[in-house]
C-alpha cells in the first residue's frame, strides 16, 4: 500500500520537476536581460571628464639677475615700466597637445616682494619665421607685497595649436613704479619676486583611443 502510493508520488514528481524546470530555464534564456552586456553598444563616456593637475615650473628671481643691460643705480623706475630680460623656454621635441584636451588652464601664483609693481606675460615665438605667433597672455599689475596671488590663463584648442607650432615659450616680466614715490634702480635691484606655474586640464577620456 505504502509502496504503491510512493511510486505514484515519485512518478508525479518525475513529471513535475522537468515540467517546472524546463519552462523556467527556457524563460530564463529568452527573458533575462543580457542587453547590458552588449558592449559593442557602449556609448562614449562623454560625461567622464577628470581634471588633472601638475606643477610645471617655479623660480625666485632677483631683479638684477633678470637685467643684463647696464643700468646705473640712480636710474629711476618709470611708471610706464622697464622690461626685464625675457625668459625663453625652448620646447623643441616637447609636445603639449592632446586630442583629449580642449582646454588647459595655466595657473600662476605670483609673489611680489619688490617695492615696484610687477606684471608678466606669455607669448609664443616661431624661430623659423622670427615672429611671435598667437595671442599674448597678460597678467595685469601685481602690487608690491602681494603673496601667492592667483593669475589663471585659459589656453583653448587654438592656443594649444599655436604652442605646438612655436619653438619657444617666452615669459617676460616688467617692473613699474607704483606712482606714489620716486624709486631708483638701487632701491629695487636686490628685491625678489617668485612665480609658481602649474596647469590643470579637463581630459575627455573617451577621446583617448
Amino acid at each position: 500500500m505504502y509502496e504503491s502510493s510512493y511510486n505514484i508520488t515519485m512518478t508525479s514528481i518525475r513529471k513535475l520537476i522537468p515540467g517546472i524546470l524546463i519552462p523556467i530555464i527556457i524563460t530564463m534564456f529568452f527573458s533575462c536581460g543580457l542587453d547590458d552586456f552588449k558592449l559593442k553598444e557602449l556609448a562614449n563616456p562623454i560625461d567622464i571628464i577628470p581634471e588633472y593637475y601638475a606643477p610645471l615650473a617655479y623660480g625666485t628671481f632677483k631683479i638684477k639677475d633678470m637685467i643684463t643691460a647696464n643700468i646705473s643705480d640712480a636710474t629711476p623706475i618709470p611708471v610706464v615700466g622697464i622690461y626685464l630680460d625675457p625668459f625663453v623656454m625652448g620646447k623643441t621635441n616637447v609636445t603639449f597637445s592632446s586630442v583629449a584636451i580642449d582646454s588647459v588652464y595655466l595657473i600662476n601664483h605670483f609673489t611680489n616682494n619688490t617695492p615696484v609693481n610687477m606684471d608678466f606675460s606669455y607669448y609664443f615665438y616661431d624661430s623659423s619665421t622670427g615672429f611671435t605667433i598667437g595671442k599674448t597672455f597678460l597678467s595685469g599689475t601685481i602690487r608690491p607685497g602681494v603673496q601667492d596671488t592667483l593669475i589663471q590663463f585659459n589656453l583653448g584648442r587654438a592656443d594649444q595649436n599655436i604652442i605646438l607650432q612655436s619653438s619657444d615659450i617666452i615669459m617676460r616680466f616688467k617692473m613699474s613704479n607704483p606712482g606714489v614715490n620716486p624709486l631708483l634702480y638701487s632701491n629695487v635691484k636686490n628685491a625678489t619676486f617668485s612665480i609658481k606655474i602649474a596647469f590643470y586640464s579637463p581630459v575627455m577620456l573617451w577621446k583617448l583611443k
Binding site: I17, G33, L42, E51, G90, I197
Partner: protein
Amino acid sequence: MKSKKGLTSILFAIIFLIGSERLFSQPNTLYFMKGIPQTKDVNPARAGITDGFYFSMPLFSKIDLSANTNNWSYSDLIHRGTFNPLSNTINNNFQTSDSLYIDLDKFRSSLGSKNFIYEAAALTILEGGYKKGGNFYAVSITEREFADLFFQKNLINLIQFGNYPYVGQTFYSGNFGFNIQHYREFTFNYSRDLTKKITVGGAAKILFGMGALHTNGINFKVASPVFGDYLDVATSGKVNISAPIDLNYTSKGMVTSVNSLPNYSVRDYLTNLRNPGIAFDMGFSYQINKKTELSGSIIDLGMIGWHSNVTRLSEKGDILYRGVNLNDPSQTASFQFQPLVTQIKDSINKIFRPDTTGTSFSTLLPTKIYFGIDYQLSDVVSLSGLGRLRIIGNTAHTSLTAAANAYLFNGLSLSASYSLMESTFDNVGLGIGVKVKLVQIYAAADNLFSPFYPSKARNMNLRIGINFIFGDKTETKTRGSLNPNCHCPL
C-alpha cells in the same frame, strides 16, 4: 522507462544550465539539505548518508560556481540610458534608453568604502564515500579556481574627477589589487559518531597549485599643499606570480611585456607538483535534544607554497615633483624643456622601479566558518539557520541564511532559503535533490533570481552534482521517524 525519461529531462536541464554563462560556491542552502553526501563539503560531520557507499559521476561529480560583490552590480556601472547633456547626467529610464553608458555616478553611489568582486569555480572530477556504522570515509579530487578584485572607492573618485579636486590635500588610493589561484585538491574525509548526540568530522586536503597571481598592499598617495607647489607621490605594494610566464624589463627595470614560457605545455601546467599545499576542514554536530541540532565547521584552513616559475615584484617609491626649477637656467638664458623633461622621466622611472626576485611565496585559502542550528519541525520538515564567515585576504565577509528543509518520498530533498549576504537582501534560494533508484541529482543556489537578471545580480552561486548511491538503507531504516544522530534523510 519513465524514470529514465525523467532523469534525461533533468540531465538535459542541468547541462543546459551549465552551458549557459548565466549561472555563477558552495551555496549556504546546501548545508542543511538531507540525503546529499556532499553536505560534508560544508561540514565534514554531516555525511549525508546513513549507510552504504556512493560515488559521483566521473569527470562531472559536482560543479560549484559563484560570483558575488559587496552589494554593487554590473548594471550600476554599465546600463542602458539616455544621456542628458544639459544636466550632464544619464537618464536611467529603460523605456527611453538608446545606448549603453558607463555611469560612474551611479557606480560610486553603490560602492562602499572598500569593495570587491569575488568569483570561484570548482569541478570535482572523482568522488566516492563509504559509511558503515558510525564511521564515514570519503575521497575526492577537485580542480579549484578563485579570483577576487578589490579596490577602494577613492580610486574610482580619482578616475572620475582626476587629481585636481585633491590639490591642497592628500589623496589615498587605499589598497587595491587582484588575486587569482588555480589548484588541485585531493580530499580525504572522515567523520565519526562519537555518541548518539555528537558527531565530529574532518578532512585533510593535499593541494597542488597550478598558477597564482597575488597582490599585496598595492596603494599610492598623492599629497600637495594648498597652492599645489608640488606633488608628493608615494607608492608601495607587492605582486607575487607563479605562472609559466616570462616578464621582460627595460634596462631601467620597468616591466614592458609578458610572454608565455616557451616549451611549456598545457600538460606541464596541469601536472605541476612543485607548488604543494595543505588544508583542513573540521566540523561537528551536536544533537541538543530530539528536535534540535547545533553544528559548526571550518572549511579550507590552509595554504599553498608557490615555488615554480615564481616572479615577485616589490615596489616602494616616493617622488617629490615640483616641476622645473627656473632659477638655474635663467642664469644662462637658454632654458630647454627637453633635457629637463627627460630628467624628470628618468627620475620617475628610477624611483618607481620594482625590485624583482624569484623566491617562493605562500598564499592562504579563503577560509569559511559555518555555524548552524537545525530544528526538526515534523518528521519530514526542519527549519534551520546558518551563519557563514568567509575570510578573503584580510577581510571577513558574513552571510546569514534561514532555510526550511524537507525530505520526501524517500528520494526528494528540498530546501528553500533566504539569505542576507554582503548587505544584499534579495537572496531567495532553493536546493533540490532527486534520487531515483541509485542515481541522485542535486542542485542548490542561494539566489534563484540572479540568473534572470545577471547584470543586476550581486550574488550568484550554484552547486550541481550527480551521485550513485548504493546500499543506503536510509529509506527503510528511518522513514517517518526521527533519528537523533542522523544528518541525513529522516
